[in-house]
Assembly symmetry: D2
Homo-oligomer: 359 residues x 4
């Protein structure tokens, strides 16, 4: 990406010969296209240009720098040929947010592959829309077990780890009534994890039809289609009707359009919890009445990105055949690297479950 809102171009950068100790050169096998990539492409987050996008990636180790053995986050020694995934973000472990406040996702010098590195600066290869990626020694890598196919991990993508982080902060409890707003990858991951956590009822509000249907296979019990309920008022009424007139115990916003947050509040029963997962980009202001927070006695949680342990958790979840297959089936569109613009367009226009690049 050389300019926001312009087609991506294919560039060549040198593959490094000699690696520094602990560096890992990976031949990329699959890179997911995340909704955040669309936000980046629209210029809604501050990123350096030009940028090699791609922060959901799996590949095989081609080379390891230095003479010493290196280990993945779980303590497994890594060797050439190993198929690995990794946490896209790296926190410093030393700053105000990493240490006393224990909010490493808000690390003051956090950097993420596919987001924070300028492609024209050496060593260039810091994004997933590429044949190769060069991982820093501090990267939290995970050797993938054979029981977890690449399709499952990319199918889950950072949507799954984002949902796991959010639900750690604001857990769904056994028997809860849940509303999930949005049926994109984050919404589906939220449905899946709400289902796994024992929700009694999971109402999904969103579209389009093919995604809503997929939400049903992930555990949604009630589908509220934007086609059938095109106004906020109609959707509110429908959710109230489905919840005995009161609203849900927990609402998970996975839409990303600011106005969705106003709708979230209407879906909450008094004393409910609201998890705002979708507002990852700054997409502008809404008219908002803060009296609602007090009067409905709400609890609202924001959650940013994820930590390596959520990748660890995701991989363990995907060893369960049920989730392994459902997330793998999210991938509906596959493109070659040179078709990246077409792939972005497919995602932007909500045509896909999940689109991936295969170098």
């Amino acid at each position: 990406m050389t300019e926001f809102q312009r087609p991506l171009s294919l560039e060549s950068y040198p593959v490094p010969g000699e690696l520094a100790p602990g560096e890992v050169l990976v031949r990329i096998q699959m890179a997911g296209i995340c909704g955040t990539d669309i936000h980046l492409w629209l210029g809604q987050l501050p990123v350096p240009l030009p940028l090699i996008m791609g922060h959901e990636t799996v590949g095989a180790i081609e080379a390891i720098g230095g003479a010493n053995a290196i280990y993945d986050w779980r303590g497994n020694q890594l060797r050439t040929g190993d198929r690995i995934g990794w946490a896209s973000g790296i926190s410093c472990g030393q700053c105000y947010y990493c240490r006393p406040k224990r909010q490493p996702t808000r690390c003051l010098s956090r950097k993420a592959y596919g987001i924070s590195y300028r492609a024209t600066e050496a060593p260039h290869l810091r994004g997933g829309y590429s044949d190769w990626i060069l991982l820093r020694p501090e990267t939290a890598m995970f050797r993938l077990p054979e029981t977890v196919p690449t399709e499952s991990l990319i199918g889950g993508g950072c949507a799954l780890t984002t949902a796991l982080h959010g639900l750690e902060r604001c857990p769904v409890q056994l028997g809860d009534t849940v509303v999930v707003q949005g049926a994109g990858p984050v919404g589906l991951a939220a449905v899946a994890m709400a289902n796994a956590s024992g929700a009694a009822q999971i109402i999904v509000v969103g579209g389009p039809a093919h995604r809503l249907q997929m939400a049903g296979t992930f555990g949604a019990t009630d589908l509220v289609s934007l086609d059938d309920y095109p106004t906020a008022g109609a959707r509110r009424q429908r959710v109230l009707d489905l919840t005995g007139g009161f609203g849900a115990d927990i609402v998970i916003e996975c839409v990303g359009m600011p106005e969705a947050v106003n709708e979230s509040l209407h879906f909450c029963r008094d004393g409910a919890r609201l998890l705002v997962l979708g507002q990852y980009a700054n997409a502008g202001n809404i008219e908002f009445n803060p009296h609602t927070i007090t009067r409905k006695q709400l609890e609202i949680h924001g959650s940013w990105g994820f930590e390596p342990r959520h990748v660890d958790q995701a991989i363990r979840l995907l060893e369960n055949p049920v989730w392994r297959d459902r997330f793998a089936r999210q991938i509906t569109h596959r493109y070659r690297l040179e078709e990246a613009n077409q792939a972005l367009e497919t995602v932007r226009t909500w045509q896909s479950g999940k689109a991936v690049l295969l170098p």
Copy 2:
């Protein structure tokens, strides 16, 4: 109060002769004027008219209905002449919010003295701006210990119980850096309880000067005056300067003007908790950016009213001589019942610490 935003008038209603079993007739000794009364008077909450306002009240039992012994919330038998306070709100104990969801302050048929009863309907005497009040059998009454003067309980008022409820939902923890927005009664109660809970730093943002000074005596460590820092930007910068550039661990909004909530977000460090205590009335919308919730990874809590156990807790706190005296000294203005309009005006124009009516 016969009309919103018009002077109150003095009306006469009959004192009931025969009481129903469990009813308690109380001769009022002191009634506090709460900021909420101003909101009621401005018409910002839906209440019936005409209304005998007054929901912070202490008095002496004149008569008890029925032949059976009655008991206060703590199990003490009540007798004629006992000096008592009571929780202004009564929850049904049986509805969706009282039972499965355990949110009794959001009880579907909650009624509060001084707020929910039409004065023209028998038995009329359901508010504190009066010589007499007739308490329903379900009222959570508290016989006041001699060590707790009436001035202390009314000085704390429903501001103290509201703060206790809020801080139960969103506790200040040992060593926390706290910002309290607002230096009215709720703000001062929040300062006091943050201080009692072990806050290391308590920054109060507000005015006017006489109240800020009082905040200092309640435990504030830093005062940010609206006079010295008249713009939101200046206040934000001041709070950042006082918190190492990051913002506070916990922010407690006790202002009541909607725009204050936008300022709250700026005072929060990433990962902070925000307690919205001041938006008791519906005073309109703000321009709000929901991206902030996600990006700053915030936790936002609303809290409505209080339960009888918070009155219990308040009375125990006020047995501590330090809090007993500080809250008693909040009362700066005393009026007779016929001076109620003058009293309201004093409160509305922020001239008082706390104003009370003495029938």
Copy 3:
């Protein structure tokens, strides 16, 4: 039960003619035999004699006292003929534990059907091993939906509500490794609820074989049979082998023999949580090393009985066809009232899944 450890006898008491307002006379349809009944029969809990045992009961309303409509805990009006269940315990709502400390299961004047009422005192009919039971007006009754068969609710019994209460205090979280000690009704309910809450691995340690097998149908992933691993050391080693050498994230003790608690500690990883559900009766002391609590940095939770909201929650869970059928299938033995001694013996010798009396 007229004497501990002696056969029960069949006695006749008058069915009341005129009911007091709010009292409900129920014709019993099914009464479960609970493990606690065995403890009662052994004399391990202080109960009055003679006693009509039976605290897990479903029946049909025969008569309602008074002229007013009465309602179940959920607000449904109750009528003659309605099939109902109820919470066996009644808390006063007014004491130190009910009010300020909010521990109603430890209510100072708590009474439970089938446990706390002397059969020779009027109105006699306060237990479930009977044709009739007379419910006090304060009872939390539940009109049963048609989708919840009597077999399911009695199959779950107070084991299910006890597990729900325990897991509310000490929740299983998504991805947890869980050890459940014991494969009786409480153990199976704990397995079921751990499964529903998203446990990744559920190891059941217990016996006999027919119950362990049932644990597998409830969601256990690993079975550690007392036959195959007859010593505490062997069981410990087996659990460590199944958990990467570390022990479980959460251990749920559902055995009831005191020594099981020492075994629990060995099954815990450092920093684990231990829920002690099985020590309902006082069955004596163990040799215990308190250093373990500190060194392993444990969190240990006790939980006593349950509240009406756990019955509400259980009924909602049993509307899910999966749980409805599994719990119904727990009932393996059915007896007539006059076969109660035979039924008790079946339960005492661990021969049954669940045994019930059918008047």
Copy 4:
């Protein structure tokens, strides 16, 4: 220490000339004698011999290894001459407990100065009872602010950080009734932090008289002396009398003798929380009835050691003049290094507030 339960001897080891990068050589100014040192000396914890004891230490930086700037845990650059303290334990940051389970105090390869290093192995100088100590690069060091005297930090010692960790896991809440068992350094730190956290009543059960008196200056409201109440039964009755017959909301065991834990349970009201802080060494078994955990519906927490952030928190607390002075006054006995045996004896026989070594 060359043998358990034998006098310590004074040995000479070489001060290293050249330091490795990041190593810090510190000239010791003061070393506290901790109760754990007595347990070590008694052989109640597995430690290597010979051992230079001493894990509460303050000193001045003599030399820094390598050419690069080094920083303390808070990000301050460290320079020769800086007065520093440090966390005695170092966790690896990579193991099962450090990473997925987030229990770094249970790190599988945790090492602590003054506890885990054999003195005969280079570089020898890894304990505080010494003129010099050599700190590993991974050590969490803290440059001490001028407002925090060495006496305050050593006066608090690891008792204060241990209490902070424990109370983080099991917090004292505003208005709680607290029992602290033990009036040694951990007990006094627990009293101080309970007081700072808003406890309404703090009952200290312990002795001897001079320490109980000191507990009063730290915030205890009621003192139960072992002299006046020599039996467990008398102490139990006294605590019940002081708590309205029910027991405390939270009990903090800081004694270290196993039998104290049985006494803890008696001091708990039903539904109370119990924090076991004192069982740091394995001092044997007790006769224990696990039924109590269930019947009293208790919550029991163990806590092991502390993390760097608790040292950070302690230093910030000690900047408060009240705590600065109180903890400094704990130091009642000062010895030269060659008087270490006399110092240990003073601590072992409970004669001191806190004893320190001044090299």
